[in-house]
Symmetry: none
Subunit: 530 residues, 2 copies
């Protein structure tokens, strides 16, 4: 069967960033773009340069990224009432983002025109027409987001339709129908999309009807799919599903349904198998925990607890699974493991020693060890450095380059001082030789890092070149509050390559110590092999 192409736009960095608890640093944003590009999405809506000055700096830096699949677009509103589009400062800043496409949102619901914008219906149409024309004339592709379109149709069908017709006639090449409040149901979405198709069509080549849904009635996925079945060929959502209130449509939930079950194609060939990994990566960058029960990609999505089900699945896989989990890069047997099963472990371990095939006893031992570590909260996904050290230790031939014999970290806030200060000392042992060094720092981890490097550089001057490029902390079990376990991820670079290491403890200092030690160890291993 020939699959029908669906163009996918991810708005994690724009609409997703409106979600509670979601805050991206500039570095996070660049990482998100790289991950989504890897996954093969068509468009990344990456920010609103007017409302958020940080976004403008992002667009400047993002222009230098070499993307293979995705293109970037910036998001903004129609011009303000009374302004000329060319003189509207928000329109100007959108232009300066210099993206190939711009997404312009405008009002389709008469209530919003009169109560929120407080302009006449005619002025709203002029705002849409002039803003779209302006960008079209500047050579940009214009995607028009018809905000609250479905509520608008309920309130004043004729006016809602006139807004999208205006956008289309002004040159928009995507007309995106938005269920902004997330309160509609699939039957209404389906019927309305069909009506709109008839009303606007026939479409010019390269012009697509799109859908943008929210999950306030738990219908974001169902509404997106209903819209596609009714004729939409462009879908918007966020990979993980975060977004304002109850979130946007989760692309990780929608794309496999469309591609594996309903006859549509969302991703380039071979990419759907990376869906679980990329969704977890995105959640990690956003520092949100991915619900285990998330459709398709959650860690419980193919978990079988009921005795009857587990038995059934051994007799017939189809009997208790709606799809083969491998199709979305998820796994049936190894729920606790982010790495997947033995085959995946073997694949990774082969990088250290090519003889480590799936049935090698070291792989069996590693598998068991990983299960135990994961039960304690360790997670090696993304922590390639720590995983490689773990493999080497399991091989038995491994001799560490150093040991941390002891450390002490102190945080003080003495009477009369306005800021706290941290200092640390660390004692290391290298080839039977001890070295102690001390440092102060911005916070206890920074102080320990300084002391550790100072102690080691007597033995390994090449460590001068290593710098830490990222530091992340995740509380594993929030319920235990300040006694909860924490997972620390540290990314390091020596200018040529970068690697990530992990540490877990109920003591954030000790978790950081473990990740720091692995980070330095990994660098020394790599240098010794050159």
């Amino acid at each position: 069967m020939e699959l029908i192409n669906i163009e996918v736009l991810d708005t994690s960095l724009r609409d997703g960033a409106q979600g509670e608890g979601i805050n991206f640093s500039l570095q996070d944003k660049l990482d998100v773009v790289r991950s989504l590009d890897d996954l093969g999405l068509a468009w990344i809506e990456a920010g609103n340069p007017w409302s958020n000055p940080k976004d403008m700096e992002f667009f400047r830096q993002a222009a230098g990224l070499k993307l293979r699949h995705a293109k970037l677009c910036a998001f903004g509103a129609t011009r303000k009432k009374g302004n000329k589009a060319a003189e509207d400062p928000a329109v100007q800043s959108l232009l300066q983002a210099e993206t190939e496409a711009v997404v312009i949102f405008g009002k389709s619901w008469d209530l919003h025109v009169s109560e929120v914008l407080r302009v006449s219906q005619e002025e709203n149409l002029a705002m849409i027409a002039e803003t779209v024309s302006f960008f079209k004339e500047k050579g940009r592709q214009v995607f028009y987001d018809a905000e609250h379109f479905f509520d608008g149709v309920k309130a004043n069908r004729e006016y809602a339709l006139s807004t999208i017709k205006t956008a289309m006639e002004a040159g928009a090449c995507r007309i995106v129908l938005c269920d902004t409040n997330g309160g509609c149901f699939p039957d209404f979405i389906s019927q309305t999309v069909k009506e709109v198709s008839g009303f606007l069509g026939p479409f010019e080549k390269d012009t697509l009807l799109g859908i943008h849904t929210h999950n306030d009635a738990d219908m974001a996925s169902a509404n997106t799919i209903a819209a596609v079945q009714a004729g939409c060929r462009h879908i918007q959502g966020t990979l993980v599903g975060f977004g304002e209130r109850c979130g946007n449509a989760s692309l990780a939930a929608v794309m496999p349904s469309l591609e594996l079950k309903l006859g549509f194609r969302c991703l380039p060939p071979g990419k759907m198998e990376q869906l679980s990994e990329k969704t977890r990566t995105l959640a990690e960058i956003a520092n949100v925990s991915l619900g285990g029960n998330m459709p398709y990609v959650g860690s419980y999505a193919f978990a079988h607890k009921g005795g009857m089900h587990a038995d059934g699945i051994l007799k017939s896989k189809r009997s208790f699974e709606h799809i083969d989990p491998a199709l979305v890069g998820n796994d049936r047997h190894f729920l606790m493991s982010e790495l997947g099963g033995r085959s995946a472990i073997s694949e990774l371990a082969k990088k250290v020693d090519p003889s480590l095939t799936r049935d090698h006893p070291v792989i069996a031992a590693l598998f068991k060890k990983l299960k135990n570590l994961e039960a304690e909260g360790w997670q090696f996904e993304g922590a390639n450095g720590s995983f490689e050290i773990l493999v080497r230790r399991e091989l038995g031939s491994y001799k560490p380059f150093f040991n941390i014999e002891a450390y002490r970290v102190m945080n003080e806030h003495p009477t009369g001082e306005t800021i706290a200060c941290s200092h640390a000392w660390v004692k290391v042992l290298v080839d039977g030789q001890e070295e102690i060094a001390a440092a102060e720092g911005a916070g206890p981890v920074n102080a320990m890092d300084g002391a550790l490097r100072r102690a080691l550089k007597h033995f390994y001057p090449e460590l001068e070149k290593v710098r830490l490029i990222d530091y992340k902390v995740r509380v594993i079990d929030g319920n235990a509050a300040t006694a909860a376990k924490v997972r620390v991820l540290i990314s390091s670079s020596d200018g040529r390559q970068s690697w990530t290491t992990v540490g877990v403890s109920d003591d954030i200092i000790d978790a950081s110590r473990a990740a720091l030690a692995d980070s330095i160890e990994f660098k020394l291993i790599k240098d010794s092999e050159q």
Copy 2:
């Protein structure tokens, strides 16, 4: 408009208990029954007495509960192949549960009959007929769950239909069509329910067609609603939505859609307003965290972050909310953020002092202060406690309950020890009186928390009741690695209410100190106002 009655069955204690991480004690189960009864559900499927001996003891004790709305039912399979129903031990134990209704599940998918049960199609029909008849003769109402019904229809329509016809003719008064693997879509569910209605109907009085869905394709809510619109009048799910793999249909997501939007009635009058509270209670008993983004009942479900949205909602509530949150007992929240405006700040500040309107000079000053704090990495969204303290400080009338004069936190990993240890001392000043206390803890923050509480409880014994329920750490700018700023969020509870506070610093200990101090301060403010 006359609402059409829908009979609701909650299976949190049976299918829900198959979810990963869900384990109910006997006391938990009794508490769940009480909560669901309070909410006014019609039926509670409370366990499988054969597969789980604890469930039998539960049914013995549950018989003594005085329920006002709900009735209990027990769940079990059709008799084993070759057995007589009356002599089948599983059937016997189901009988001994002595519930008014029993739920019998049987096979509708020919694949399961041949591959999992490994019996002939005729024997499967006999197993269904004899088991249903047996309970009917014993005076029980029999609900028949047609497991994998929709997959069965796809594979062998005629056989699937014959299984439910058999159950109906044997006396089942509920025929419940199950999407056990959760992989179907609403259009197919709708069409199939209509066909089944025609095939089985007309129904006798008190006989209902039912629907039971799972969320593997994120369609559980949409499929349930599609089935009701196609003719089902009995729905099954779990209030919170937990259950095997991706979970069951969440009744908290489905019931408000049906009752507030689609013309059906699920709960007795006045009960929908308890939905948010009861769903949180159930999550609390099950010890799962209720996703903030959960439709209708989540804590972010009516949270507004974007400046434009927050501004819009004050102009017209309907404009950015699909329903009034009060209808489901939820609240509207405004999140503070770089994206939010003065209107949102004023809305929050009014809780402290109603005179703080949008144009009040204190609001202007707060707005400026927030901008500066946010530039330093502070985020008050969700940190209602810290925000309220900030407002009070800005009002000028505020006198803190205590000051932390000094602290010292030490982390040690001495030579020869296998684990690190943390200890702390804190000196506080209350009304000119100093107090010093020390504590050790699991990690430095836990140690400081212990010392601070110990020092303060001399002055404020009511702090005994406060416990920390969540602790989150976010690295704000990962690029600065271990010298990066961190934001700490702490949620606390005194058993009656909960609140969240925030601290930011490049020193995680000092950020935690700030959030801890605000947390305690907030509690003391609230107590002083009672």
